[in-house]
Point group: C4
Chain length 218, copies 4
Amino acid sequence: MSDTGPADARRRFSLRTSRMEGFSDGIFAFAATLLVLDLVIPAVTSKDVGHRLAEQWPTYLAYLVSFATIGNAWLYHSVITEYLDRADAILYRLNLALLFFVSLLPFPTHMLAEYLSNQGDERIAVTIYGLNLLAISGFIAIVWHYALWQRLVTKDNSEADVRALTSKLDPSLVSYAVVIGIGLWRPGVAVILYLVIALFMIIPFRTVLLELRRRRRA
Amino acid sequence: MSDTGPADARRRFSLRTSRMEGFSDGIFAFAATLLVLDLVIPAVTSKDVGHRLAEQWPTYLAYLVSFATIGNAWLYHSVITEYLDRADAILYRLNLALLFFVSLLPFPTHMLAEYLSNQGDERIAVTIYGLNLLAISGFIAIVWHYALWQRLVTKDNSEADVRALTSKLDPSLVSYAVVIGIGLWRPGVAVILYLVIALFMIIPFRTVLLELRRRRRA
Amino acid sequence: MSDTGPADARRRFSLRTSRMEGFSDGIFAFAATLLVLDLVIPAVTSKDVGHRLAEQWPTYLAYLVSFATIGNAWLYHSVITEYLDRADAILYRLNLALLFFVSLLPFPTHMLAEYLSNQGDERIAVTIYGLNLLAISGFIAIVWHYALWQRLVTKDNSEADVRALTSKLDPSLVSYAVVIGIGLWRPGVAVILYLVIALFMIIPFRTVLLELRRRRRA
Amino acid sequence: MSDTGPADARRRFSLRTSRMEGFSDGIFAFAATLLVLDLVIPAVTSKDVGHRLAEQWPTYLAYLVSFATIGNAWLYHSVITEYLDRADAILYRLNLALLFFVSLLPFPTHMLAEYLSNQGDERIAVTIYGLNLLAISGFIAIVWHYALWQRLVTKDNSEADVRALTSKLDPSLVSYAVVIGIGLWRPGVAVILYLVIALFMIIPFRTVLLELRRRRRA
């Protein structure tokens, strides 16, 4: 709706980032919270409750991986918007595609939990799940690279910051692609690896290390 | 509640747009995410899982169309609030009517998914669905034309911008009306056409074209 | 947590209103959207779908009344925060009590829809529903009167504005109390009256009238 | 993603608090509203509806405790962000861990409601529920102490304010730990005590007292 002519092209592209942030925060928050609906309370049976809960481990594992992945995606998204100076019409659309896959995640998560203990079906469930994780990671990287390419990022960031963010986003894509491959042979192992990737991206090992080193010197 | 006398009529009408944006972002985000609850995981049967998932195509199609429509409505809504300088008591109400139909959409979506493969019922389901889409589009246009009429839009927009937004909103109403008519004869075709309309409105063909042309010249 | 001594009492009470607005917008938006989950799709039977949908009228009526009430409560809440200059610790708590009853509303709404066509039970369902509506209206009035009493409202509002808001909030309490009484004899009539109250509070009759008169003169 | 070197370490840590607030408000609001889905409407039976509703008391009690706890956690969280000047990468992660336990709460709440009237199972349900409450309280305290330690809080707060917040957060941890212990012997009593803790933290006894005293003197 903002495409009338090349003359005022530059100004027309400028959109505040506040609506994009508000809508994204909403989708991330609901998708993360909706996951809890999949956690099934085992019915009262003769078995003791601890045993019954333990039987639900695939549900809990799927919940944990999905929450960690959405939390992680939000973290990176919030760092990107931190650098964003303004948005344009195409960035809004790319962001919408990212949010589509974020809000879709509860579905493969539910499927994963349902099929994880079922021999024949878990392979396809884990693969679909992995493709969704890859799509989320992929669109975060696309949003970031598009913003860099179109110079929508604010000027007062050092080159080092930009490289640091890029250096974390791009390898995650490769990791997801590799684990999707592993999942075709070993579905259970792949789910564990998805958790490892999410936790590895969430925990800021180097920041903690550098901070500790800095404090020891000071 | 802001109607005590004509003397201070102008000032009383001024409301910040921030609450309207926050509440709208919430409803848009939640309605979009709620759709995922309708995606049914097929029960484990003797058929293989790929086949079972494929049988659910009406659900997935309905999900896709509804998400694209809500995403699209949010896009236009955020462009409108971008231009908005302030809101007034009536704009708040018109916006509320828009949000009513946005938050209602999961219901006809669910009905569509349920009835789409059922001969007799799909006609009425597709018609109700189309009317909901038309209502969303209609109220976005009403909100926009009301804001223009009451001069609530900020001054520093070019006439071209305003015409560009109008030139996209108004034809969409005609398209929806036409497709609702088509749906009475060919319900399945209508659903595909609703997806086409949403994608056509989301993808900024002219922006991309103009941007590419501008870059080639630069 | 902000109660250490009378010396800095005034400053300690000052809280930004932004978090209160964000959290309130979230609760209002989710409660309004959650209502849609109660709209039941009638199962495919031999009866035609139009007939089956028509049988669900109590559900649709309850949905409409609840959405209108929540939308209305949000409208008044956003006007109140428009006047708010700052918040204090007690206003935050009163607002929390209001949000409790807003987020509770889907429950009596569901009960109303379930019991509305059932002779013996509809009386208690309508009464509980009315008490919830009364609590929402009551806490909006309490939040508003508390803010006036503690002079948390911004200075640049005319006395007329403040009286206008008060003159709409307080009668609504009386209306709800009266209709709860009516509901004990005529449950069905009460539900219709709740819709009338909500619509009457939403539609700014006087504003529209005054605006039309102003325009005719200009 | 912001860990490239010690040189620009200080600046890199600065993140706006607005995204963190928006995402947190979303999760808090959604978790609080989602609880309402657990309130079951008793099916129409020969018993009268008042009796049927009364039988659901564990559900209503669990709902009340969880809403009060989430509301309370939001209150303290909003006071913390009131003092926050900026955020850093680690604070974002600690906040994410807090939000994990907030969005998880509907699950043990549901379990509590399901098992509360069941002799053998209620002990484990109450214990898991208590651990979740402890985790929420614990991470709020961790977020607060981390912000103090890293001097992320704004300078213009008095020492008294900071001590006041700390003096309420830390005892709550001890209370939860004690009540978890009590719950192993007396599950029902523990649930009541969790409600007492939440209400005790919500109601600002000292603020009210001091305010009344101040007004009497003025």
